[in-house]
């Protein structure tokens, strides 16, 4: 059987897991796809190479799919998000002395509201520089959400950008005081002894869509069958990744030099939700630290895309309604349904939901039977309801 060749860029991060598992565990090949993963040095490269057609699909920050579809960036191209690769998996990390200062002000990784209040108090006294991996990222949106909802003055905060593996070096060099980053790069900074984890990103929004399979819309239209098979392979890979029994094998695979190129034991912390917070070895157990599959984790809720638009539109200089319409159309729950109708009987009946209303796992109506939805609450108990 000849395989369909699909080149795909990725950034070295634990949340490239579903793509890597699709290749290494044979899920892609079983669907007749040779998924050709290419490690990239920056999100800018992912953006430009998918825009130039070098990649039809890529590991992508969820807000990038929206911003690119809105025509932001050097080359406008319509990007769809037919599959959420993971929910959460980021950590807010700070230089040890800043973290100690915040702890004195009441911050604790167990309480996002207290940490938010401490950040507000800190920014009253001094300016704060926070590193994020890209302007169009959940990292920036969630950090700003935390600060804004905690009443902090955002003009006292500046954001700097660097790719995930560079952020720990930026902090060490004194270029930033803190950074929000996907694992294992927060744990790596902790391991080096000069950083403490302030908060798992999941504490800000329990169901934040972190990465998506960014897909050129024209490629989906021209290759509907390949796209469908790719989504089936991703679905199976995601299921495998979300099985607790897979964690140690997955950590070993991701650790390899051509993937994340970081120690397996550091990667495993994020997979197990066992986060070492500081060089004293204090441990925080975070259920659902990063969700790769199961339930409706991979389902691209149109409402989740609209949340991104709701939060980012102003900064992007685009009318909110327009941004929301484009985001709603980019989160392709229709494609997800089409591809997985036979494979996954527990597809949610709805494509929109109220974001932030579930405190704990809740059964929702599925196409057939019921599907368990994980908690999706925000730290400040806000609820977002959007009109399609």
């Amino acid at each position: 059987m000849t395989l369909d060749h699909v080149p795909c860029g990725f950034i070295p991060l634990t949340d490239s897991a579903v793509l890597v598992a699709a290749v290494e565990m044979g899920f892609a090949a079983a669907e007749g796809i040779a998924l050709d993963l290419k490690r990239e040095a920056s999100w800018s490269n992912i953006r430009d190479r998918i825009a130039m057609g070098v990649y039809p699909v890529a590991h992508m920050l969820s807000p990038m799919a929206v911003s690119m579809s809105l025509g932001l960036g050097p080359l406008p191209v319509r990007i769809d998000a037919p599959f959420v690769m993971n929910q959460n998996g980021n950590v807010l990390t700070a230089r040890a002395e800043i973290a100690a200062h915040l702890a004195d002000l009441g911050a604790t990784p167990r309480d996002p509201a207290a940490t938010g209040a401490a950040l507000r108090a800190l920014t009253r006294r001094s300016l704060l520089r926070i590193g994020v991996p890209f302007p169009h990222s959940m990292h920036l949106l969630l950090t700003r959400y935390l600060l804004e909802a905690s009443g902090a003055d955002l003009s006292r905060v500046t954001f700097a950008v660097a790719p995930p593996p560079i952020l720990p070096d930026m902090m060490r060099a004194g270029e930033v005081d803190a950074f929000m980053v996907g694992e294992p790069w927060g744990s790596l900074a902790v391991e080096r002894g000069d950083a403490c984890i302030l908060l798992p990103g999941q504490a800000i929004w329990a169901a934040a869509p972190e990465k998506v399979l960014g897909t050129r819309r024209d490629w989906i239209e021209d290759h509907p069958d390949v796209a469908r098979r790719l989504l089936r392979a991703m679905h199976r890979a995601a299921k495998w990744c979300s099985d607790a029994g897979s964690a140690s094998v997955l950590a070993e695979i991701l650790a390899m030099p051509h993937y994340v190129n970081a120690p397996a034991d550091l990667i495993q912390r994020g997979l197990d939700g066992q986060i070492v917070l500081n060089s004293q070895g204090d441990l925080l157990t975070v259920p659902g630290f990063a969700r790769f599959g199961g339930g409706a984790v991979n389902f691209p809720w149109r409402s989740a895309g609209m949340w991104i638009a709701d939060q980012a539109a102003q900064a992007w200089g685009i009318p909110k309604r327009q941004a929301q319409t484009v985001a709603h159309d980019a989160f392709r729950s229709d494609l997800y349904r089409l591809a997985l109708a036979q494979l996954d009987p527990m597809l949610p009946a709805a494509s929109m939901k109220v974001e932030g209303s579930l405190q704990s796992e809740t059964l929702a109506r599925a196409v057939s039977g019921e599907v368990p939805l994980g908690p999706d609450s925000f730290f400040d108990a806000r609820v977002f309801e959007f009109d399609a």
């Binding site: 040095a41 800018s44 890209f134 905060v157 500046t158 700097a160 790719p163």
Partner: protein
């Protein structure tokens, strides 16, 4: 604290179009940077600064206020040039990646060569194009040089392997050097492989058996 991270030049400054360009080359590879600088000096009386270290790039660029930044695609510093300043302060004029709106061939050529250019908002594209063209040419030249160097290295190591294989055959089968090479060549031909591949297999096998 760096506020005006990417605020390199005030808008509507006519001298920005008339004055000599200030070009920053971001490249940790000293030899390649030299090749690019050398090429750029032939295009323009540009002032050229090379930055090798990526940490603190934004801050350095803010201080240098260049008109054009040339950066290798494999450099993680590309993301540092992303439009983040505007997110903190919408009044700042950002530097943007150079794209000729009417024609993407140049963009495509630049990506192929492995280089990208960022320009201060308002810089005329006819001033950018010759600079980017020269950078593309120099990146290609550098890749060719690197490839040639790699090929030479590979050829040298292949010759060593073939010599070792010949030695093994001469010793084990009491052949002359010419006979040993003839045997390697014949085996390679019969199997449709390269002499070096057969030699490597032989050397590996001999190492395993010894």
């Amino acid at each position: 604290m760096q506020a005006a991270v990417q605020h390199f030049r005030q808008p509507q400054q006519p001298e920005a179009l008339l004055a000599d360009l200030h070009i920053v080359v971001v490249d940790p590879d000293k030899e390649r940077a030299e090749m690019i600088v050398d090429g750029l000096q032939q295009v323009d009386d540009a002032r050229i600064t090379v930055i090798g270290e990526v940490i603190g790039l934004e801050r350095k660029l803010a201080a240098l206020a260049p008109d054009i930044i040339l950066i290798d695609l494999e450099n993680p510093g590309r993301d540092m040039l992303a439009d983040v300043a505007r997110l903190s302060n919408p009044t700042q004029r950002p530097v943007a990646m150079f794209v000729d709106g009417s024609d993407t061939t140049m963009m495509s050529a630049a990506l192929d060569a492995g280089v990208s250019a960022y320009v201060v908002d308002g810089l005329r594209s006819d001033r950018v194009k010759p600079v980017l063209e020269m950078a593309i040419a120099r990146f290609h030249a550098f890749s060719r040089l690197t490839a040639e160097l790699e090929a030479t290295k590979a050829a040298l190591s292949e010759r060593k392997i073939v010599d070792r294989a010949k030695g093994l055959l001469m010793k084990r089968r009491s052949l002359s050097e010419e006979e040993a090479y003839a045997l390697l060549r014949k085996t390679a031909m019969d199997q449709g492989k390269r002499v070096a591949e057969i030699a490597e297999a032989l050397v590996t096998t001999a190492d395993l058996l010894s």
